[in-house]
Amino acid sequence: MELVSLFITSFIVNNIIFMQFLGTCPFLGVSKKIDTAAGMGIAVIFVITLASIITYIVHHAILVPLELEYLQTIVFILIIAALVQFVEMFLKKSAPGLYQALGIFLPLITTNCAVLGVAINNIIYEYSFVKSLVYSVGTSSGFLLAIVLFAGVRDKVDYADLPESLKGSAISLITAGLMSVAFLGFSGLQL
């Protein structure tokens, strides 16, 4: 039950984009079309889940015994970058279909602060291994939900008759802000 509540909380209530404001760069950058947005979202789920497993192990097996917890940011960045490279090579060889589907999004994710954010949150909240796994799947699914919803709204906004000064990024930022306000409605939810 605790795990289900953790999942829902990280998925909707503490949505990584609308409530924690992490990973807004790909959120705004790759949300012009619904199918590319979904591709990005799925790639993020994949990488965040893998990254949180590896960073959890590295943190507890290397950094804690050596009392080097303050190095976690730089070490995690290093690990995430290497991991994405490795995953890309692995997929290219063993699952070309998946590699084609994820395409350009995989290397893009290296610079996604949501990945680092989840890895560090796992440590800050002192989650166990299983909990941190659930937390990362929930959070990254939240990213997928947010980016697909946003891409859908942008699709409609494209056809709207906008004032010249609001066209492009301006209306996107306003839309994102309004969606964030809408997600505030979940904040009282207790599970």
């Binding site: 950094l63 050596l66 080097l68 190095l71 290093l78 690990i79 490795f86 090579m89």
Partner: protein
């Protein structure tokens, strides 16, 4: 001492990651056909998808794999096709160059409107309301969906009508696919004489909605000395293989529906 430990751990993790990646690069190495890279470099790189593949990379793989013809890229010029054929060790057969053309001349001043349209500025949306706001239900609506999809900046809206610059057009066919009125068609690049109308009505029915439409009077058909223009389904159509650019039909057409550059007129024999 603390700093040495920190440097050692960070550096150590970096080195381990580096070694693992180098090892993985060897282990997961994939031999890429050199021809795919060469063909990819010879292609225009517009990723327009006109060839039917997802992009230039997919097209290069298809050509190298023998699944696509060496001149399969409609955007590349003859030179590029030759280069690709060279890489593949065959010879390219050059087809005739086509360009897209809007078969409508009913600009805002010549064609009448059947209703005021205040909806989304989008051809497909406008076409959904009683087939568009132009009285002629076959004509160009002029909201510029084709302009949006053109990757080569070849289309402009002039006086409520899409006009394609044939020098810029690469015949990728995206506008043809996009147009809800199916008013855009491929014509040979070298051809100048084109019937600029898409209306299949006869006589007055056309005249009432557009001053420059083809009324199917058959004057062009009767005057053509080369049997190169025929009226079928109430619409004149030039046979581009037979047309000699004598411009007789252009001059005779009572509604000026036939487009042709009279300065390149040739003496009819």
């Amino acid at each position: 001492m603390v700093i040495v430990k920190a440097v050692a751990v960070t550096g150590g993790i970096g080195v381990v990651c580096g070694i693992l990646l180098a090892f993985a690069a060897k282990l997961f190495h994939i031999d890429v056909d050199q021809r795919i890279i060469d063909v990819r470099n010879a292609l225009p790189g517009a990723n327009c998808g006109a060839c039917g593949y997802a992009g230039c990379d997919a097209m290069a793989a298809a050509i190298a794999g023998g699944n696509a013809p060496v001149n399969g890229c409609p955007v590349a010029n003859a030179q590029a096709h030759e280069k690709i054929a060279d890489i593949m060790g065959t010879t390219a057969v050059e087809g005739e160059k086509n360009v897209a053309h809007v078969l409508c001349q009913g600009c805002d001043s010549l064609a009448t409107k059947k209703h005021e349209y205040h909806g989304i500025k989008d051809c497909k949306a406008a076409a959904a309301v009683q087939g568009g706001n132009k009285s002629c239900d076959k004509g160009c609506l002029g909201f510029g969906n084709c302009v949006e999809v053109c990757d080569f900046d070849a289309i402009q809206i002039v006086d409520g009508l899409a006009v394609i610059d044939k020098e810029k057009c690469t015949a990728c066919g995206k506008c043809i696919e996009e147009c809800p009125k199916a008013v855009i068609e491929f014509v040979p690049y070298k051809n100048n004489v084109i019937v600029g109308c898409n209306n299949r009505d006869f006589g007055k029915a056309v005249k009432d909605v557009c001053k420059i439409g083809c009324i199917a009077c058959k004057i062009c058909e009767k005057n053509c000395a080369f049997d190169a223009i025929h009226v079928t389904n109430n619409l004149a159509k030039v046979d581009y293989d037979k047309c000699t650019h004598c411009m007789v039909c252009v001059e005779k057409c009572p509604t000026k529906a036939i487009q042709g550059d009279l300065t390149v007129k040739k003496q009819a024999m």
